[in-house]
């Protein structure tokens, strides 16, 4: 047996304390395979050891939540005997090392999390963050990463046959050495047919299905729990390879085998592969699992037990069937042309016993391995921040030029170049695809549709993680409400730097606490999610970037567009102008960032009570069919929202009250505001009054032009053209 040396421990990212815990659990020294198994299960990625203490602060329940955190995905009740299963997950580290496969397998992984529950995936959204495309030092690499990630998502999602219906794409220097690829997936499930990853029933067979095991992705989870260094680029073999068509077959086979009634529990092999699926299924059921690796379908010869247990080869699942009904399982997988092999049985010992040709190569208690990972209450101080507090002196030379610059900037320009590479309508349920405030997907056979929005704002969070996280929740809920839906529940992806640095840990703690406050307030419990730490390159952390995926429900119908629909209609600003006197709170805006060279100060002020009343008001306005268009104000404030609302060809003539700081009035990102065009202004006003929120009439729609007081006078084409072509120009400069 190999002796475990400090070098071996270091190579596995296992600390001395963690090693002594392993020694006390086993009562002996582990062999190398066992150490490998512990190292992946206790990696940050799999165990949440630095975040679990704080994740407990998040609300996770409501009357709609059928299944909260802890399983492969959360599930909420949407009526008609149906639920939706959804979750977001990151594939940040692999996407930096190998953008195409990294992103592709990110899509594959989250889809398996959904269909392993018994849900059929019906929508994917992506939240992407990259370094600036025009950066003199890193631009070329950033462009290559964007192209690779987008084509990877396109390749996997399109071939699998799930529509990619929306998301967000943001550029900032802090992501140049560490892009973020967060993928959200949602599936529909019959409430009575939820499958769990539990290995019940002593004596039941453990069956391996799907792709063969290779050497790819070994230690992916450990890599995802480490910072990037120059050597990281050599970790390419740690990135897995995806086969989306095989996953499509696996989906159909899994859903079909679940219908047979022969399946007790099922779990996908994601991070930490066979290791994670065996010990988690055993731990959840309080059972033991015994497998023999010689029975595992392998696509390479001479693989060691260590390699087989740690491989992260894609498109694999582990299921436990009822003893005596194995053949039903094999028949289904044979029909779909997939491998299925009985590799072991469920036992009553509580132990994970791994054999290789009958010889025991690992012998570990399941529960301790899966649930007794070290828990760190890491010290934290004040959140790191670099930006100054005070605003610099600035005055706009040309507001129209400023607006065009904002509309052409990476964050705000049209993302058509990206989303036209995604099949966003396959399965013919997409009522509102990419480009709106929220995506809307109908559930066939019911009157119900779901609305989904992904939102995060790293810049806000870099200035104040607590407030930034709240604003993220508020914006996602506002987006959902603007299409007329009721926000129901959330999933979160927490992307942060190295938690061993107290000022980074503080960002994580404050963001979670802010998110907890907001999710409680907006009644969107967190049903699951993902934490991605160590997003640092050469010691430099990313902006703290919590990403929210919020799911809402609405009655199926013609979706509310963001664009003005016809000339001569009243344009109203629901929520009002809000207090904009404090220039400190202007420092986080896109204007401050793109035009002035910020950021500085603080994120915009949020009044959660007011915000929630605005949501109620717009939901009522939209569901009663009183508006012709509705679009929430976010990046770039009022002027950008007006421009985006005009891109269908109908613009507006806007009058504004006098202001000493017209830049601030036009571009402030104060939340709780929605632009509405309507032929029924009186009724709309009455609803605003009912919910005690301000509403201001600011103008009238008009074909072909956008005129904002005496400040901006532009043809729509003048604004639309740079907005729609900018991303492609930035990419192919």
């Amino acid at each position: 047996m190999a002796t475990i040396t400090p070098d071996i421990l270091a190579a596995h990212n296992v600390t001395a304390d963690e090693y002594s815990k392993i020694l006390s659990i086993l009562g002996r020294e582990p062999n190398l395979t066992e150490l490998g198994i512990f190292s992946v299960m206790w990696s940050e990625h799999c165990s949440y050891k630095s975040s679990r203490v704080h994740l407990k602060k998040l609300p996770t329940r409501s009357k709609y939540v059928l299944l909260g955190p802890g399983e492969n995905a959360g599930i909420i009740d949407i009526g008609d005997g149906l639920g939706v299963a959804f979750k977001i997950e990151s594939h940040n580290h692999p996407s930096f090392i190998e953008p195409f496969q990294g992103a592709a397998t990110g899509v594959g992984g989250i889809l398996r999390d959904i269909f392993t529950m018994g849900a059929r995936p019906i929508a994917v959204l992506d939240s992407l963050r990259f370094g600036p495309l025009d950066d003199p030092q890193t631009g070329a690499r950033n462009r290559r990463i964007v192209e690779g990630v987008v084509s990877g998502i396109s390749h996997y999602g399109n071939c699998f046959g799930v529509p990619t219906v929306g998301g967000e794409c943001v550029f900032d220097k802090s992501y140049a050495g560490n892009p973020l690829v967060n993928v959200f997936a949602l599936g529909v499930i019959e409430k009575e047919k939820i499958f769990l990853g539990q290995a019940h029933g002593v004596g039941n067979p453990v069956i391996y299905v799907g792709a063969k095991t290779g050497r790819d992705g070994i230690h992916g989870a450990t890599m995802a729990s480490d910072e990037f260094t120059e050597e990281s680029k050599q970790k390419r073999p740690n990135v897995q390879m995806g086969d989306p068509f095989l996953e499509k077959l696996l989906l159909e086979a899994c859903l079909e085998v679940m219908e047979t009634g022969a399946v007790v529990g099922i779990q996908d092999m994601g991070a930490a592969g066979l290791t994670c699926s065996t010990c988690e299924m055993g731990s959840r059921a309080g059972t033991g699992i015994e497998i023999d690796l010689a029975l595992v379908p392998q696509r390479e010869t001479g693989m060691t037990p260590y390699e087989i247990m740690l491989s992260e080869s894609q498109e694999r699942m582990l299921l436990v069937a009822i003893k005596g009904r194995e053949q039903e399982v094999f028949d289904v997988f044979e029909k779909w042309g997939l491998d299925a092999a009985e590799i072991g049985i469920v036992t009553d010992t509580g132990m994970l016993v791994v054999k290789n040709h009958g010889e025991i190569v690992a012998h570990i208690p399941n529960r301790e391995l899966a649930d007794e990972a070290p828990l760190y209450n890491r010290p934290y101080t004040k959140p790191a921040r670099k930006a100054p507090m005070d605003a610099p002196a600035f005055t706009s030379a040309d507001l129209k030029a400023d607006l065009i610059r904002l509309l052409s900037s990476g964050d705000m320009c049209s993302k058509k170049w990206i989303y036209e590479q995604y099949d966003y309508m396959v399965r013919t349920n997409t009522l509102y695809g990419p480009g709106g405030d929220a995506a809307v997907v109908r559930i066939k056979g019911t009157d119900t549709s779901v609305a989904i929005s992904l939102d995060g704002n790293g810049r806000y969070c870099s200035l104040d993680p607590r407030e930034g996280a709240k604003l993220g929740v508020a914006e996602a809920c506002r987006n959902i409400s603007t299409v007329g839906a009721q926000p129901m529940a959330a999933t979160n992806n927490l992307n942060f730097g190295n938690p061993q640095k107290p000022e980074i840990m503080a960002q994580l703690v404050e963001a979670i606490e802010g998110m907890a406050d907001a999710c409680l307030h907006f009644e969107t419990p967190i049903t699951g999610g993902n934490v991605s730490l160590y997003n640092e390159t050469l010691g430099e952390g990313i902006h703290p970037t919590p990403v929210m995926g919020i799911v809402g429900v609405l009655k199926t119908g013609k979706p509310m567009p963001i664009e003005f629909q016809s000339a001569g209609k009243t344009v109203l600003l629901l929520g009002g102008f809000r207090d904009q006197q404090d220039l400190t709170r202007f420092g986080s805006t896109q204007y401050a960032n793109v035009i002035v060279g910020g950021p500085w100060g603080l994120p915009p002020a949020l009044d959660m009570d007011y915000e929630k009343r605005v949501h109620s008001a717009i939901r009522k306005i939209v569901t009663e069919g009183l508006s012709e268009s509705a679009h929430d104000l976010s990046d770039g404030g009022l002027a950008v929202a007006l421009a985006e609302s005009s891109f269908g060809g109908i613009g507006a003539r806007i009058t504004l009250p006098a202001s000493e700081r017209p830049e601030v009035q036009l571009f402030h990102e104060a939340p709780s505001r929605i632009l509405v065009s309507t032929a029924k202004a009186q009724e709309v006003r009455a609803i605003a009054d009912e919910f005690q929120v301000e509403i201001v009439e600011i103008g009238t729609t008009e074909a072909g032009k956008l005129v904002i007081a005496d400040r901006i006078d532009a043809s729509i084409e003048e604004l639309r053209q740079p907005w729609s072509t900018s991303l492609e120009m930035l990419l192919h400069a």
Partner: protein, 193 residues
């Protein structure tokens, strides 16, 4: 739903649709593996007997691969997958798929493909045009297809291949119901029999 491993088409089938998708993953050339699946032999027989066959998107690619239709579909000129609604012009109403349309009518169907650029030698293209077999043309060519061709039929006019998706344009909620024309035409063709 017919299974790819089946070798026969049941007698009560009136029309066969080869839908979109990624047959066998299309990791080689789109449709190149699908043409070897057992059901394809039956589809060829069905078509030879005058049965109605439509290949949409991947289905069109398969029909060209197994030579029920001429030409080939190669990568879009921008080398990217493209998903968006596009305007098409109906070029002939003399087919079982367009008898309910008017010649020159503009319809909007979505496209969703990476390899949709229709290619054939000039003689074949001339022949298609001379025989009135170009069924749909792109108004604003999205993928570089030769002569803007979006859909063609065989000489006997019972086999149609097209890259755009009429089935995705069958509900106003989805943005367009123009695709119903194709399916209503087929029904009409049967009613006339």
């Amino acid at each position: 739903m017919l299974w790819h491993r089946d070798a026969a088409i049941p007698n009560d089938i009136d029309a066969v649709i080869l839908p979109g998708g990624f047959s066998y993953g299309d990791y080689l050339r789109c449709g190149a593996i699908a043409k070897f699946s057992p059901i394809i032999g039956a589809v060829k027989e069905f078509a030879a007997k005058g049965g109605i066959v439509i290949g949409i998107c991947n289905g069109f690619q398969i029909l060209t691969e197994c030579h029920l239709l001429p030409g080939a579909l190669v990568r879009n000129t921008n080398l990217q997958y493209i998903c968006k609604p596009v305007a098409l012009r109906v070029e002939t109403t003399n087919t079982p798929f367009t008898n309910q349309a008017t010649k020159g009518q503009i319809v909007t169907f979505p496209i969703a493909h990476g390899e949709g650029r229709y290619t054939a030698d000039p003689e074949t293209l001339d022949q298609l045009e001379a025989e009135d077999r170009v069924v749909f043309r792109y108004v604003d060519n999205p993928n570089g297809s030769l002569r803007d061709i979006a859909g063609i039929c065989n000489k006997e006019r019972n086999v149609l291949g097209m890259m755009p998706h009429p089935e995705r344009a069958t509900d106003p909620l989805m943005g367009s119901a123009d695709g119903l024309t194709v399916f209503r035409s087929i029904v009409t063709a049967f009613a006339a029999k």
